[in-house]
Amino acid sequence: MSSAPPPRPRLVARLAAWLQPSLVRRLLLAQMLLLVMLWLLFIGFLLYQSQHDQSELVQDQRYEMILRVADSLADHPERQHQSLSDIDRFQRDTEGLEDEPQLRMSMLVRQGENLLFVSPRLPATIRNSRLGAIEKLPAGGKTWRARSLASPRSGVVVTLVKPANAVNVLLTFNSRGFLLLPLLISLPFLALPAWLSLRLALRPWSRVTQEIAARGPHDLSPLGFAPRHRELRPLVTNLNALLKRVRDSAKREREFIADAAHELRTPLAAMRVNVEALKTESAEGLRQELLDGMVRSGDRASRVVGQLLSLMRADLAPTHASCRVALAPLAQDRLAILSSLAAARDVELDLEAQADCVIVGEYESMVSMLDNLIENAIKYSPAGGMVSIHVARQADRTVLSVSDQGPGIAPQWHGRVFDRFFRTPDQTQTGSGLGLAIVKSAVDRHGGHIVLATAQGGGLNVTVSFPSPEPPEPAP
């Protein structure tokens, strides 16, 4: 026994499974990308706006109001400064900002060279070269936009200043906390509902996938789930059409084989009867031997034809009427019929059957299974050998086992002997290679198991087991 596998490969495998391409993830990523793009577009628009929106700097009334205040309080410098400071705070407050000139509109008030007021922390060196025009001015290591107007009464000059750097817009967002942050925070939160909604929306799709995954490899019946969705309907319709085509062509093929096999029976019968009639006419030893050879070849051809027919019939009618088949009398019947073959080969038959063994299944399928198992055993037995058949109930299963004293089948061929027309290379007997394929087909159709083993004394032991049915309701 090998030790338990280390946990890492399993983790890697799970990661690899998770990293497999997924439509849901693809859709989710597309949605998130779209969201980020929209958001970037919005930010770009804001940046553009901030660069070109100079509305506050061209509001002449604002200048007028400040100049009027400065003029009217020119005689009371303290009250003048106090009022200008109030206005500055008001401007600051309307924008909701702290005392950082980089983030708000600031102002300078001069009278000649005399600085009447400057917003806190604003470089006092900002000065327009022309009145009434917006200029970009460097000061204190930064760039500013500024516009100045002078009072016609006193020559007081008011300069309104806004930062000209684009970065501050982003900082504005940050400090305002109403654009950047919610988006950054909401992105992962949006992903979960998006994922859930995608899963929900793709449920019909998963139902189709589940149904396809759940069916067996031989199930060619149409899908039971008929989606009403426009996107899925063509898929399911086309799939069903494809299944029908495959089904029909497989059916035609089987019918063709069955018909061909059927048609071969009459000429085979004619050949056999003619040869046998000839045999009674001719007494010569050598001629008898040759005629015997012809009969044997005819028998072989007949057997293949019969096997092909039973195989095709089994494939053709997958849901045949099931009945309770009592295994012991059936085994007796089949052995009785095959006992002439056993007698001809000088093989002894031995049946040991428990009386109450029952299988629910198709009668004919059971018959061909038994026939092929027993015929094989007889065929490969040496002269004077014994074929033992056991039928018994073991726990909840009905078990049939057939043992011979022949050469057996080497273990390396156990996986392949059920293939149609497969014959082991060291074969000495004639045969078609269909017998065990028929047995396997019958076992599979009845939910049984088949096991090949070496019998006591070296022959082949084939054991098939089926689930025992519930005992029938006792008659009232």
């Binding site: 059927h262 009639a277 007796q332 031995d350």
Partner: protein, 227 residues
């Protein structure tokens, strides 16, 4: 004995005709349903060998017509159709036996003989195998000329085996049809009767196929001869 052979295949029909003629049977061979009907009306015969797929109709139609006219003429169907429902259908339509192509000539001959024997109720006819004689009308059994007393059950068992010489009669058939009501599921009544029967007729006639049933071989099995 006159046999009507209804078979459309040339080679098969001819082969069967020659083979049966070699066994002292008179064979009338027709290849069409209409000819068969005509022949049945004009010529009395002892047995019909009937193929089912005929060019001008289904052989079962002829069979049904025979049975409608209450004719007891034995009919043996020769056919390539071997599905269970086909066989059941054929036998339900009134066939006495059913042989699937391709068949061995010996099988055909033994079934033909058995059918004819059955239809004539063994009148005056005894079954004889290697010196063992069973005379049905008088229910007498003798071995190499000396009469033997058998119980009713033993007689029935021997009769069942002798009527189908060479074929293994299964235990369950013997239990259910020959000794009805005598057998519980786990009893060995059959084995007891058999061993008594064997003791009376002597060894060498009845062969046991263990677990399966019993058979009387037409020719003694010689183990040394080999296959």
């Amino acid at each position: 004995m006159k046999v009507l052979l209804v078979e459309d295949d040339l080679d098969l029909g001819n082969g069967v005709r020659i083979a049966l003629s070699g066994q002292d049977m008179e064979v009338v061979w027709v290849r069409r349903l209409a000819d068969a009907l005509h022949m049945l009306e004009s010529t009395p015969c002892d047995l019909v060998l009937l193929d089912l797929g005929l060019p001008d109709g289904d052989g079962l139609a002829l069979l049904r017509r025979l049975r409608r006219d209450r004719q007891t003429l034995p009919v043996l169907i020769l056919t390539a159709r071997d599905a269970l429902e086909d066989r059941v259908h054929g036998l339900d339509s009134g066939a006495d036996d059913y042989l699937i192509k391709p068949f061995a000539l010996a099988e055909l001959l033994s079934r033909v003989r058995a059918l004819v024997r059955r239809s004539y109720g063994f009148d005056g006819d005894a079954i004889e195998v290697r010196g063992l004689v069973l005379h049905e009308p008088t229910r007498r059994v003798s071995v190499r000329g000396s009469p033997i007393e058998l119980s009713r059950s033993e007689y029935e068992l021997l009769g069942a085996l002798l009527k189908r010489v060479g074929r293994v009669i299964t235990r369950h058939v013997l239990e259910e049809q020959v000794l009805p009501g005598q057998i519980g599921s786990e009893s060995n009544v059959l084995d007891v009767h058999m061993s008594n029967l064997r003791r009376k007729i002597g060894e060498g006639y009845i062969r046991t196929v263990r677990g399966v049933g019993y058979v009387i071989d037409p020719v003694a099995r010689d183990k040394a001869a080999g296959p």
